[in-house]
Symmetry: C2
DNA sequence: ACCATAAACTGAACCGGTTTAGGTTTCCCA
DNA sequence: TGGGAAACCTAAACCGGTTCAGTTTATGGT
């Protein structure tokens, strides 16, 4: 009994209806299991559909339901920064692992600057390409938030936004979008405590961009931890998170009369660049200089010495974000999710400073 | 004269037709600039559309034209391998730079294995999600090629496929899909020649997966170059392109009685891992061991010593691939594109072997 | 036996475009 | 002046689903 022979004509809901001896409306009802279909009819319809190998046309569904069954991710980074950071590949893999079984697709955009980013959101909505979006790399007074509110596009933020204007807040005074967050301050605090415990007193921080929430938050965590450890003012240099900027910052720090004995980097790419600069200057690591990173990218374990860093879980973040966004779109609201805090992973790049005398200056 | 006030009702082609005093069919004609529309009408219609801020509904267009105006990229890699390799972010950025102005979106899938990969292509087609796809990471007898032929999905391959069965070939005996390629054998040959020129005679190769075309092709290029340089048989170790495998391979190579004095790695992540292993073993680079990589990822310039490697241009590849795929879809066929060969970029990780005595064994 | 009500189901409108068959004009030339 | 072709345009069908008003059928209460 061959039913699969394609007669050069995609099988439609009408074919299924005819074969089951019902109207196409009822087929639709049965498929979206809604009430008002007798068990027998439902069975007959589903059987017919199976026999014909029918799958409802996504395009037709899109048109009549005004949904696209796709989610969007707009990444506003230069290829330079993007390429060095394995966050997105892992994050996307996590997202996909949730979306694929649900029959939803991910529409990805990579754009170089903020203006293009906002344009992209507008056109995604104008074209009805996506039903919701992931908002990553939050910034202070992030212009994307009011834009998405204006566009009425459901979203999930990676981390809690800050600096929202009253008009953006929802009635309860909260962010208009659910946030899926991971506490990265714990890891920074642990890094500083660990270094201080090893005997370091001149600890510097190579921070990420202050305009990015995770950049400034890690910096504040660093300052707090330094203070908590009873250390004197510690140096911080702001960068844009790029490898090159990390190398330059390291050079500046080490090129001082009294250089730091340890550097806490805001991400692993910069830390690895720092490692390179230190080697180049002939410093022993961790003897002359201790280094910690943030992210625990794959490279971290394989550079020399292996990088002591803070381990994050982007794939898990992706899964949680995808689940939250799907829930939001289905139920109209969703709870914030807090993932387990990122914790310090100790490897070889940090150790006791070689000379306490130099460190204390006495 | 406010026309922008949204009356809670998206403006449709009908609104434009009414305002221009024509039928909606004619609006469609004017918009897709087809013959049979008088200049005056066309002008009136376009003006009306502009005034109303009308954009044709992508969803409606999709339904009636049976196109999705989106292209697909299915990446079959584990997050582990994917995250370390900045190829895709750059490639995607290149693709996007072409697609965005054309109003096309990129649908991205990341799947862990080949089975899921094939499933994904099937469902992308069944759902009509994409009008064409990019085929990367070509493998020998790649099962995706016959699948895409069967599905009738236009595609562009990144590199020329091999091992096609006669049924897959088109009438002219060529691959059914246009290929956008970059010659990576030149870079490998240059690496070997460069090392040989420095005085190395025991050069090893840490190859990528032999099942991947670029893995085996680079390996063959290595063998050819070694022979051309008049060197004795040189060692090769096959890996899966992952950082960890690169580290393990390096360890095995260096843990021999007569270790190589230079290693040519099939990609940068493995080369960087090799650098780490060498450092760990207390070797001086390039004095005791020379290392070359492949890709010229961002990290390459910032590790110590900076990596001598072969520079590729993934963003350019992405642009060319996107242009070719768009052309293919519009005209039904497209020419192969050959990008400039990847060339060696000399930095510090390769140099003359410290002792010619050890190198020659005399 | 009869009416009320719920459950099951149908038919048609609708989503917003494209496409095609056919109908007017207009213009040209015999 | 008429005939024919070309240019322009309209109306309606179509893409393949969802949805809803309304009809039929089954159930139940009195």
């Amino acid at each position: 009994m061959s039913v699969e022979h394609d007669s050069r004509q995609r099988v439609t809901i009408m074919d299924v209806a005819k074969r089951a001896g019902v109207s196409k409306g009822l087929v639709s009802f049965a498929l979206n299991d809604r009430p008002g279909v007798s068990p027998e009819s439902r069975e007959r319809i589903l059987t017919a559909a199976r026999e014909l190998g029918w799958t409802p046309s996504l395009r037709a569904r899109s048109l009549s339901t005004r949904r696209s069954f796709a989610l969007g991710l707009v990444v506003g980074r230069t290829p330079e920064v993007l390429g060095a950071d394995p966050f997105f590949p892992s994050f996307i893999a996590g997202v996909e692992s949730i979306l694929a079984p649900e029959g939803r697709a991910l529409v990805l955009s990579v754009v170089p600057d903020e203006e293009a980013e906002l344009r992209t959101y507008r056109s995604l909505v104008a074209d009805g390409r996506v039903d919701g979006v992931f908002l990553s790399d939050l910034r202070h007074n992030d212009p994307r938030i009011p834009l998405l509110v204006e566009l009425g596009l459901p979203a999930v933020t990676l981390g809690r936004p800050e600096g929202l204007t009253p008009t953006d807040l929802n009635p309860a005074g909260r962010s208009p979008f659910p946030a899926v967050s991971i506490d990265d301050t714990v890891g920074i605090a642990e890094s500083v405590r660990y270094l201080a415990g090893l005997g370091h007193s001149r600890i510097a921080h190579v921070a990420g961009s202050a305009s990015m929430l995770h950049g400034s938050r890690r910096r504040m965590a660093f300052d707090d931890a330094v203070r908590a450890a009873g250390l004197a003012e510690c140096q911080t240099i702001e960068t844009d998170f790029s490898i090159g900027a990390g190398a330059a910052a390291t050079r500046r720090l080490l090129d001082q009369d009294v250089p730091p004995t340890a550097i806490v980097f805001a991400n692993d790419p910069m830390a690895i660049a720092g490692l390179g600069v230190a080697h180049e200057l002939g410093l022993r690591i961790p003897g002359d200089l201790s280094i910690t990173g943030f992210d625990d990218i794959n490279f971290a374990r394989y550079v020399y010495p292996p990088l002591t860093t803070v381990s994050t879980t982007p794939a898990q973040w992706g899964r949680a974000a995808a689940r939250t966004l799907l829930f939001l779109m289905e139920h109209g609201s969703a709870e914030d999710v807090d993932l387990p805090a990122a914790r310090l992973t100790v490897r070889g790049s940090a150790g006791a400073p070689a000379s306490a005398a130099i460190a204390t200056g006495t």
